[in-house]
Structures are given as structure tokens and as C-alpha cells.
């Protein structure tokens, strides 16, 4: 028996031998129903190109919230993954707690960084207080999806889609057909992190807080316009008070005419709409001209590894996943766009893809208005987003007047900000 064990141990040592020279890194990501295939393909190609690094995935989490939660728990138990993909508005939590490693030293050590394709404006989306913590992986932006068949039937022109909310609501009223269970319009106002609320305020030229982050700024005219628009969606646009799951189901079933959502679903919805209806996209209405901004959504790759050898491997992986190869895999598999400029210019990578998929190109057109997905400061940061969501709900279900809700939302938020 002992002899047998000895042989087994020897065999194990022999098998493990070559692997010992490898550095193994663990990678965590969220939303497997969008990212599983993409992440696994990237890891496969990365390991083929870097045989000395082995990539292992931890169990992916369903949502961004769980991904942050898991990292924080891992920080307590000392089992942090080396690389994590986090929602853009979650970087602040990990940076403030000192869990994420700043990437500036690694960027400084790169020789040809200027040619690596990382656009300056898009890099800022991964910065917290001036330090680079995240490298943009997959970015999204709010856009308008529409069912071109329903729009045409209602007398609209899919090639000249309205550019204002008023225009969209007028069209939605014509599409609305309760007898046939067809709704004209839906706006997923309750996307996590007040993302769509930020989109409404930013697109009207406003901000969440003042520049010093001491005072609420969404009570100013842009915010007032934003909350009125939210109410008008119900009263003028015929929007129902339903959950995101319902609006998605209705849209892919061809029972919803116009749908404001993130580009993140574009890949999946395109597949589902095939053969059901003609899917088109349009730009999100911008109410303040050149001052209009839109929040970027999506996730960034962050480094959590502390060991220098693992850090080196993790950095290689982050560069690969967010670089041209990873970006190409990611864009083709999802509706997101990359934070790297190289692939869109290269016909072999994504150039042809964008030429053939105008629905995906709309998001690229919104790039100049892109700004960060705002995360509120202080220990109550996440609670504030919940408070805002509750007040927005009162506007959507009609239990509060928009102006009153905005006033309450302002005072409640102010009370939770760091003094």
C-alpha cells in the first residue's frame, strides 16, 4: 500500500512539475449570462499566447452588486481573486478601502503605452481621485431601441427617428394599442446605481453633486427637467409601472414599440429579435446640446493581487482582456463597446463588424458625450442610490408630484452625504 502511495505521489509530482513554473491567477467576473462565453474565450486565447500564466475563474456572480460583495468578503477572509471585473460605479468602494491596487506604476513601466490604444477620455472612467484603478473592459451607454415594424405601422419613419422626448412620446402614443397588448414606450428608470436617472440629468447638462461633492446638484434646472421628463413618460408616453424583466420580455416579443435601455443587451436582443421584428437603435435624446453628457456603464478590470509575481501576471491579463484582442472578442459577443480604440479602426478586428452592424454603431456615436457613472461619496454612498430610487418610484407610480419628490430626494440625499 505504502509503495503504491509513493508511486502515486511521484506521478503527481511529475505531472505537476511543468505547471510549477507557471503563475496561476484567479479571475472573478459578474453577469455570466452576458459574459461567460466571452470571458472564457479571452482566457483561452490568453493562455495560448502566455503559456507561463494559468488563468482560473472563480464562480462568477449574477450581478455587479454580488461581485463587489464577494470581493469585500474575500478581503476579510484573505482569499481575494487576483483580477476582478467590477461595475464602473463600484470602483470607488474598492479603492477607498485599499483593496484594489493602483495601476499607475504598471502603466508607467510600459514602453509603448501611447500606441496601446487606450484613449485618454475613456481611461478617466477607471480613475478614482486621479489614480487609475480600473481598465475599461466593456462599456455601455443608454440608447433607444425600437421596433421598426411598429414604428412604421404607426406612421413613423425609422430612418428619421425623433431626437427629443416630446417626439418620442408623440410616436409612442400612436404605437400604443392596449387592445392588442402593445405598449408604446418604456424607460428602464430602475437600472442599478441610478444609472438612467443620471442619464436624464447628465443629458440635460446637470450633475449629481457640486464639484466639491459637498452639496446636491440634481435639484438645479437640469434635474428639474429630468424629473418632469420621467413623469411625462407615464402621462404622455403611456409608460407602465412594470419591472425591467417585463419590459425586456415585452420588447423581444414585439409587444413594446420604443425601449430606452443600456446597449449591454444589444447583442442578446438582436439575436432574440431575429425573425420576430426589425430591430433598430437611435441616440438617447440630448437636451443640452454640447453640454449634454451620458453616463458610461459596464465594467472595468481591477487588480487585487498583492504579490509582485501575481501582479505581473495579472497586469498581463488585464492588458490582454482590455486590449485589441480581448475587445474584439467582447464586442462580437455582447452589445458593449470597447475602451480601446485600436479594434474599431482595424477592419480585420471590429472595423467590418461596425460597418455591418449600424445598430451597434449608434453607441460609438455617443462616445464624445461619455462621462463617468457617478458613485456617491462616503459610507452612505450606496444607501443614497437606494433613497433616490425610492423617490423616483413615487414619481413613476404617480403618488408624488415631480417637484415634491425632487425636493424630498434632495434633502434625504443631503442628509446622507459626508458632513
Amino acid at each position: 500500500m505504502r509503495k503504491l502511495l509513493g508511486v502515486a505521489a511521484l506521478a503527481a509530482a511529475f505531472v505537476a512539475g511543468p505547471a510549477a513554473a507557471q503563475t496561476e491567477i484567479t479571475v472573478q467576473y459578474a453577469i455570466p449570462d452576458i459574459f461567460k462565453d466571452v470571458q472564457e474565450e479571452i482566457a483561452k486565447q490568453f493562455m495560448a499566447a502566455n503559456p507561463n500564466i494559468k488563468v482560473k475563474f472563480t464562480q462568477p456572480t449574477k450581478e455587479y452588486e454580488d461581485a463587489t460583495q464577494q470581493v469585500l468578503r474575500n478581503a476579510v477572509t484573505g482569499q481575494l481573486p487576483d483580477v476582478t471585473f467590477q461595475g464602473l460605479n463600484r470602483q470607488r468602494i474598492l479603492a477607498d478601502r485599499g483593496i484594489a491596487q493602483p495601476l499607475d506604476p504598471f502603466i508607467a513601466a510600459e514602453k509603448d503605452w501611447a500606441k496601446a490604444g487606450y484613449d485618454g477620455a475613456l481611461l478617466t472612467l477607471g480613475q478614482v481621485k486621479g489614480k487609475q484603478y480600473g481598465m475599461g473592459f466593456s462599456l455601455s451607454t443608454p440608447i433607444i431601441y425600437f421596433n421598426a415594424d411598429l414604428v412604421k405601422k404607426a406612421g413613423g419613419d425609422p430612418d428619421n427617428f425623433p431626437k427629443t422626448w416630446e417626439g418620442i412620446f408623440a410616436l409612442a402614443r400612436k404605437i400604443n394599442d392596449p387592445a392588442n397588448k402593445i405598449t408604446g414606450f418604456h424607460f428602464d428608470w430602475d437600472i442599478t446605481g441610478n444609472w438612467m436617472w443620471q442619464a436624464l440629468v447628465f443629458s440635460n447638462g446637470g450633475t449629481m453633486l457640486t464639484a466639491d461633492e459637498k452639496k446636491v446638484a440634481f435639484d438645479q434646472p437640469p434635474g428639474q427637467k429630468a424629473i418632469e421628463t420621467l413623469r411625462l413618460m407615464i402621462t404622455d408616453g403611456g409608460m407602465r409601472d412594470v419591472s425591467q424583466a417585463t419590459s425586456l420580455q415585452d420588447f423581444v416579443a414585439g409587444r413594446l414599440g420604443i425601449w430606452a435601455h443600456s446597449t449591454s443587451r444589444l447583442g442578446g436582443v438582436t439575436k432574440q429579435a431575429q425573425g420576430v421584428f426589425n430591430l433598430r437603435t437611435a441616440t438617447f435624446p440630448l437636451g443640452a446640446g454640447a453640454d449634454s453628457r451620458l453616463p458610461a456603464g459596464g465594467n472595468v478590470a481591477m487588480m487585487l493581487a498583492k504579490d509582485p509575481a501575481k501582479q505581473k501576471a495579472a497586469w498581463e491579463y488585464i492588458k490582454f482582456a482590455t486590449g485589441p484582442v480581448g475587445a474584439t472578442i467582447m464586442v462580437k459577443g455582447t452589445g458593449y463597446f470597447p475602451a480601446n480604440a485600436i479594434p474599431a479602426k482595424d477592419p480585420k478586428m471590429l472595423g467590418d463588424f461596425y460597418a455591418q452592424n449600424p445598430n451597434h454603431r449608434v453607441a460609438i456615436g455617443q462616445l464624445p458625450s461619455m462621462t463617468a457613472w457617478y458613485a456617491f461619496p462616503g459610507e452612505n454612498g450606496l444607501k443614497i442610490t437606494d433613497v433616490i430610487k425610492d423617490h423616483l418610484q413615487t414619481v413613476v407610480n404617480g403618488s408624488a408630484k415631480p417637484a415634491d419628490a425632487l425636493k424630498k430626494m434632495t434633502s434625504d440625499t443631503q442628509a446622507l452625504l459626508p458632513k
Binding site: R73, L94, R97, K181, Q393
Partner: protein, 299 residues
């Protein structure tokens, strides 16, 4: 009871006794007392999940908690949920037990049928309920439509959502209560009924009032305490079906604790809610047991 005997025990016997109780004590300390103490200590700090530092802030969390609109809303909702679910499931359980005991056939089938909700996983069942309650294609509204009633949205209507959840709570726990009552019914001696009949309790209702109900006292007390604690712990249906919404109308204590500690990462604050929760459950148990000891007839 046996304290004097312990004093007479030899040192060897005492050591043996200690060794014998130690596994139970160890489990109690590691699994119950320790974590409870840790939660209490955490509730006195400003610790946030994953934060490198922790400061002792005394009763700061509790002060903030008692000034928090959401906490009181959540506390009130939990109380309303209990006040609906406990009587609902206790009386439904009792009714079912009496009907099944009185049945002449199919007892085993009915017992199993009504006990099924208890054995099923509530999370999975909540998903089934979600389909049943769907505003347009759900079975409940389709049936209501047949009789000319517009069902509306059961989970998104703020004045109705909590009661919808309470209904699911009753459905889930009535079966367990039924089984407990059946055990109680079995232990009532048949001669009491004969005696009652001779004494003039002719109707079934009279027999129930004079014999069954008083004799079920201990069972009723136990069922009520258990149902009360179970409904105070409601979480699964809220998490799956409403997430505390719309507008906190179904926010319950454990859900608030969960969001504060694991969504907002305010662990110290979440610990304070847990302490409040533990105190309430303990108080409820003690109150009911004390009250019950005086009034319950232990046949």
C-alpha cells in the same frame, strides 16, 4: 433537580459528566453564543464590510437606527405581516386538522397535500407564485377575470403587496401547524367527549368549545410561538418577489438587515438591526411562554 446528587458525585464522575456535556457546550458556544456576541460587538462599531479599520462608536448605530424612517417602516411591516400570518396560519392549520381528523376517507392524501408546502423550498415556490401572480398572464388573475373581477398587480401595488406576501406565508406554514394540531388532537382522551356528551354538550360546536379547544391549549401555544417566530423571520419571498418594494411597502426587518449589511456594506449598522431582531424574538418567546404557563391547561 439532580443538583444534590452532583455534589455527592466522585471527582471521576464529575469529570465524566463534564466530558459528556462538553460537546453540547462547545457547539453552543461556537455556533450560537459566539456569533451572537460577535454581532453585538460589531453593532457597537462603524465597521464596513472589507474596511481595513474599525472604530468603536458606542450606541451610535442604535441612535441612527431609531431615527431611520426605513427601519420603522420595516419594523411596522414585519409586525403587520406577523399579525396577519400568525392568526391566519394557526386557524387555517386548526381547521384543516379538524376537517382531516373528522374525515372518513382520504386522510393520508389530504395530510400529505397540505403538508407539501412545508417541505418545498420557499425560494423555488416564490418563483412559482411569481408566475401565478403575474398581472396579465398569471393564473390567479385569469381565474378572477372569469368571474368578472380585475385582479390588478398583486406585487407592485403598495397597499396590497405586503398582504399578498402574508397570504403566501399562510399557505406555507398552515401545513406545519396542521400537523402539530393533529398531534394535539390525537392526545385528547376519547372519554372526555363521552363525558361532555352525557353532560349535555350535544352539538359538535359545544364539544369543540368545551373539550377540544381547552385540551389543545398547549399545542395552540406552541404553534403560535413557532408561527410568530417563523413569520418574524420572513425573508425569502421578499427577496425573490418584491425586494422590499414598491417603495419599502414590503420591507421587513431581516431584509433591511440584509440590504444594509450586504448591499450597502454598513456591517455595523446591519449588526445593530440583528440585535434588535434578536431582542424582539426573545421577548416574544418569553412573553408568550410566561403568559401561556399561567393560562394553559396542561391536561
Amino acid at each position: 433537580m439532580t443538583a444534590p446528587a452532583a455534589n455527592d458525585a466522585t471527582p471521576a464522575e464529575r469529570r465524566a459528566a463534564l466530558a459528556l456535556v462538553s460537546p453540547a457546550w462547545l457547539a453552543f458556544i461556537v455556533l450560537l453564543a459566539g456569533p451572537t456576541l460577535a454581532v453585538f460587538v460589531l453593532s457597537l462599531t462603524d465597521w464596513q464590510l472589507g474596511a481595513p479599520t474599525m472604530n468603536f462608536i458606542g450606541l451610535g448605530n442604535y441612535e441612527q437606527l431609531f431615527a431611520d424612517r426605513v427601519f420603522w417602516k420595516s419594523f411596522g411591516n414585519t409586525a403587520v405581516y406577523c399579525l396577519v400570518t400568525v392568526p391566519g396560519s394557526v386557524f387555517l392549520g386548526l381547521g384543516l386538522a379538524l376537517l382531516i381528523e373528522g374525515a372518513t376517507f382520504g386522510r393520508g392524501f389530504y395530510r400529505a397535500a397540505y403538508f407539501l408546502p412545508v417541505t418545498s423550498t420557499l425560494i423555488a415556490m416564490a418563483v412559482v407564485w411569481e408566475f401565478l401572480l403575474h398581472p396579465s398572464v398569471g393564473l390567479i388573475n385569469i381565474v378572477l377575470e372569469q368571474v368578472g373581477i380585475t385582479g390588478g398587480d398583486w406585487l407592485k401595488n403598495p397597499s396590497r403587496a405586503l398582504f399578498t406576501l402574508a397570504g403566501i406565508g399562510i399557505w406555507q406554514s398552515a401545513g406545519l401547524n396542521m400537523v402539530l394540531f393533529m398531534a394535539g388532537l390525537k392526545s385528547i382522551p376519547a372519554d372526555l367527549y363521552e363525558a361532555a356528551e352525557i353532560d349535555g354538550a350535544a352539538s359538535a360546536w359545544e364539544r369543540f368549545r368545551c373539550v377540544t379547544w381547552p385540551m389543545l391549549g398547549p399545542a395552540t401555544l406552541f404553534v403560535t410561538v413557532v408561527s410568530g417566530i417563523r413569520s418574524f423571520q420572513v425573508f425569502d419571498t421578499v427577496e425573490v418577489l418584491t425586494k422590499g418594494g414598491p417603495n419599502k411597502s414590503t420591507e421587513v426587518l431581516l431584509y433591511t438587515m440584509y440590504t444594509e449589511a450586504f448591499n450597502f456594506f454598513r456591517t455595523g449598522y446591519g449588526a445593530a438591526i440583528t440585535v434588535v431582531f434578536l431582542v424582539v424574538v426573545l421577548a416574544l418567546t418569553l412573553l408568550q411562554v410566561k403568559a401561556g404557563e399561567k393560562r394553559t391547561h396542561y391536561g
